[in-house]
Symmetry: D2
Subunit: 357 residues, 4 copies
Amino acid sequence: MPQFTPTGSHMRALVKTAPGVGMDLVDRPVPSIGDHDVLIKVHHAGVCGTDLHIWEWDAWAAGRLRPPVVIGHEFAGEVVDLGADARRDGLLAIGDVVTAEGHIICGHCLPCRTGHGHLCVRTQIIGVDRDGAFADYISMPASNVMGLDGIPTDIGAIMDPVGNAVHTVLEGGEVPGSTVLIIGCGPIGCFAVGVAKAAGAALVIASDFNPVRRELATMMGADHTFDPASDDVVARVREVTGGIGVDLVCEMSGHPAGHAQAFAAARPGARVNLLGTPSRTTEVDFARDIIFKGLTLYGVTGRKMYSTWIQMRRLLASGRFDPAPVVTHRFPLDRIADAIGVIKDGSAGKVILEIAT
Amino acid sequence: MPQFTPTGSHMRALVKTAPGVGMDLVDRPVPSIGDHDVLIKVHHAGVCGTDLHIWEWDAWAAGRLRPPVVIGHEFAGEVVDLGADARRDGLLAIGDVVTAEGHIICGHCLPCRTGHGHLCVRTQIIGVDRDGAFADYISMPASNVMGLDGIPTDIGAIMDPVGNAVHTVLEGGEVPGSTVLIIGCGPIGCFAVGVAKAAGAALVIASDFNPVRRELATMMGADHTFDPASDDVVARVREVTGGIGVDLVCEMSGHPAGHAQAFAAARPGARVNLLGTPSRTTEVDFARDIIFKGLTLYGVTGRKMYSTWIQMRRLLASGRFDPAPVVTHRFPLDRIADAIGVIKDGSAGKVILEIAT
Amino acid sequence: MPQFTPTGSHMRALVKTAPGVGMDLVDRPVPSIGDHDVLIKVHHAGVCGTDLHIWEWDAWAAGRLRPPVVIGHEFAGEVVDLGADARRDGLLAIGDVVTAEGHIICGHCLPCRTGHGHLCVRTQIIGVDRDGAFADYISMPASNVMGLDGIPTDIGAIMDPVGNAVHTVLEGGEVPGSTVLIIGCGPIGCFAVGVAKAAGAALVIASDFNPVRRELATMMGADHTFDPASDDVVARVREVTGGIGVDLVCEMSGHPAGHAQAFAAARPGARVNLLGTPSRTTEVDFARDIIFKGLTLYGVTGRKMYSTWIQMRRLLASGRFDPAPVVTHRFPLDRIADAIGVIKDGSAGKVILEIAT
Amino acid sequence: MPQFTPTGSHMRALVKTAPGVGMDLVDRPVPSIGDHDVLIKVHHAGVCGTDLHIWEWDAWAAGRLRPPVVIGHEFAGEVVDLGADARRDGLLAIGDVVTAEGHIICGHCLPCRTGHGHLCVRTQIIGVDRDGAFADYISMPASNVMGLDGIPTDIGAIMDPVGNAVHTVLEGGEVPGSTVLIIGCGPIGCFAVGVAKAAGAALVIASDFNPVRRELATMMGADHTFDPASDDVVARVREVTGGIGVDLVCEMSGHPAGHAQAFAAARPGARVNLLGTPSRTTEVDFARDIIFKGLTLYGVTGRKMYSTWIQMRRLLASGRFDPAPVVTHRFPLDRIADAIGVIKDGSAGKVILEIAT
């Protein structure tokens, strides 16, 4: 990939230009903005497992993306222009340091009308269904934009996955004084460990096969970390919870074995919040695992718009929760291949692109 | 089975006397009562699918029951004696017409201590783990007994399964004005139809293969009934819900096909309350069916002790909900084989034993 | 007030033209619409107690309204034009029969962002802060508009106050099988009686000094009506609730005596939802009435946007709840003085203006 | 008060022997225990504002207590004997280090049956309605006893008021990431500051006239403390919350001025949990302060039995919350007059009696 500096109304952008593996760093016009939009100069962007799927052009990506598309859905930066209506609202101004929810929703469907905008039936995701944030500039609807309240842009850039963790941990509302098991310590699992600790969990247990990830979970405050390869996770969870199991399981692995552990390690009447996206089906013994235990399961999509964002912004701005230890790698835009590489080989926590400073 | 009349301190009882098929009508001493117990003369008892399992001595029954055990866990009758402490409490009196929760719980475990007594880790069920109600008399802890407030004993005798329906329909708390799908129209499914209507559901849809059961569901107020053998249930549900699916699914079939329909017919953000007890595992596509739809699943065990009972008693005593149309058969105690027979052949709704009048 | 027929782009409108008592029926241009607005031809409109305050130009009205303002915030009618963006959304079309939420909110403040749009800090109310619905046409933001799903426009016109009742009764989520006391049987109190019955309340008690209103409450399904002038309301409530008081009180009177009855008639752990707007302060014994009883109080503003509307539309469209008996008077637009008169003298239930047919 | 050592089956006890000021340290028989009771040797006990009322024999005390009564309702110690049923249950054993809920409830009334045992209509409080804990031994129902899981008895002795704080702060379930105002920094207010911090509040503000108490609040983690004598508390709260007010107010003062501040400092849609027991009425502007703001108020009685206890025990045992800094004074049993004195003169945080070691 050649390096270049955009000039005038041009910019750099990482684009899936055609079906197939990889992304191209190309010269693109700076996006135009509509009346309700703002133009944001991107400072930092987060690289996500979804971006790996897109890079590799797996079945999901091939079925969903329509190239050419600018990739990237996690970012933070600075407002540099506003559409007429956004300007008139007076809620955002040039120079504001911001991040944004990447799900652009219709506002009219039943979920949107009843407080479940994160489940909008017409959701468009930036970097997937429309142009994204691995670029010098992005146009966003003003209503999706959140001021950072002093949070730096490298942390602001990862509020999408941090918000996944906040949504997963706090849905159900009974974390203070509770016992929590996090299954899967990828970046969102590690964030979840920190969120559970910040929210007053009395005991946070984390499990992952990867020792690097277990180490990150410990740094984020896990009281115990277990390795499913050598530990009987369910037995160990029972052991450290007086024999009964945990109040809350956050399932971040998406693996059938993770589901089985989740149901077995949950105490009667517990809650299991599921975020990890499986690539296959799981055999579930509903009688033994869900019905006789009186479990509540909840499928986590995105972030609640915008109660999750408000909670998260305060947790971050107040310093109650700091996701920084999870960020292990930073690359410039033209080293996207390296960023994808460290995600793929499992050596990374969270990976950030440094786009402008 | 020979008929006889108990004399003195003896009574009739339907007993699983030894491993194997069937039950015996035998002469037994009237049970003694402890300080906290009451002795109840049984007027009516309900026959449940569980009793069919016990009759047939299936794997579950063989693994759980320790003969000899008096069978039967659904009943209502009249208080005829009280233990010393129960008498001193002054809350029950001889002559009170009552029913009782058949789950006897420890009161000390974590679920018991946190408002989830129905999930007590030391639950003993009458008619399964200790002597039950298919008899002239039963001893029950006073704290399990509920006055009937004018509800007749033939209806009081089925408050256990009616309570299952109340628990399944009302858990989640948003039934008024909602759309509800009931999958499986056995007695509890039919009760659930009526409870949903009584609770102000705007649309109640019921599905079952059995035309007798669909007819009962219609009598209980279902707005639509579908036959999975000839209807595309999910398509029909979408059709009558403006294309989006229902707010609440009550899964009463316990069948993998029922689970699949439940998840597919639920709108994004919906709740699926599962009561039907599967005899096998179900393959679940968590990504498509639970996570991306943001569903909440809840496993229903028994009745909340005792908020479900309070709600139910008021719904019944006020006439807001009448389960009587679901009661299709009544037999005396010595015709238990006939009662089991009509349950087994699918021709019955709810079946009641008439024990005393 | 002279009668006239608007011609061309003119229309009739009831306008508070200047400070002082009354309203004038005047000739006004048909409103223009912005990109996100729709133009609605008004068929029916509801007259509210607020309109009486405005007519009489009391202290509240004098402090809030800036004449000239077209009055009226409850209405239903037909879409006759759409702005460019509203047209492009494709969710509304010319000819659609609709009503609308009259609170126009900012979408950006903390309440708006966290699912409490009805508490928006920048709310503008039609007929109060901007031109309203007592006119042949009104311009409304498309996002405030609700299709009527077959509900006739005379009922659609009163969904604002019906929604107040739905919000007041259903907030808390435990109406099925509960005992409910409605204090104050003005139109919203009478609607609340019907909503509570539709939602499965086991016992609905209503109290009002006015015999006409008590009669309406009975027609809407109240199990008991009490007259505070001759009944000891609290004692009677205890009598019909087994001595303990009700689960839910809906306080619709706004009177200190109503508050006192509400707290005294509520059982320990009950909920008191307050909608009636007091014109003075109330002395509250927090220790005896709120703290030692463990009560929850909730102040009801407007309707939840838009979960209340969705619930209400389904209750109305399904026929589960019919507010028609509460509508006692209908007048043409030029008889507003008569409409105000019957509200003021207490002889009316709900009063409707018939504007077009 | 003479000192003495109990011998044989006698013990020391602080007793309100007759109406009037003070308490007497007297020789009493060690209490007998019933079948369901346990005998506890008291190690530490907490002195509460209620004990001050009893000491001073104010109107409330004179109306409620029936001397002679052993005073004291906050304690921890060691199990030294068990009744027959308690022994058979096997859940407690001689030597267990425990505390206990001091509200002894009936288990049968509507609140008890529906998960609101803390609102039991037949509650008996130890040290008020029956003999209490300022003694060498106390008899308690086994079901009221909680094992301390390693928490020392001086902290275990104050779990009653710590539980008040946990109940007040956590009721509503949305503390993580929220903004909280604590009005009144007596011991329970100071505990509440610490609980809110432990539960992940992003901002905790405390207000009190007393500089000693403000200092304790700061030690417990308050981000801001305000003095109502010199600070405009409402204005300062708005200033540090971006102009909108807090999400949660914990009203611990019981003073009308505290109520006014609570309602004014709460943001639209906020929750106000009230624990401080007023000795007089408060004038409330329901329209302005509760209804138009959409507030939820909740009256806090005691501790939820036993979900509050479970949460609290875990917060304490895990070290997530440490109330020790609030404990400012410790006295032996025979210096009760000094203990009462430092509470009365406002120089104390929490005061503990050291009874056995």
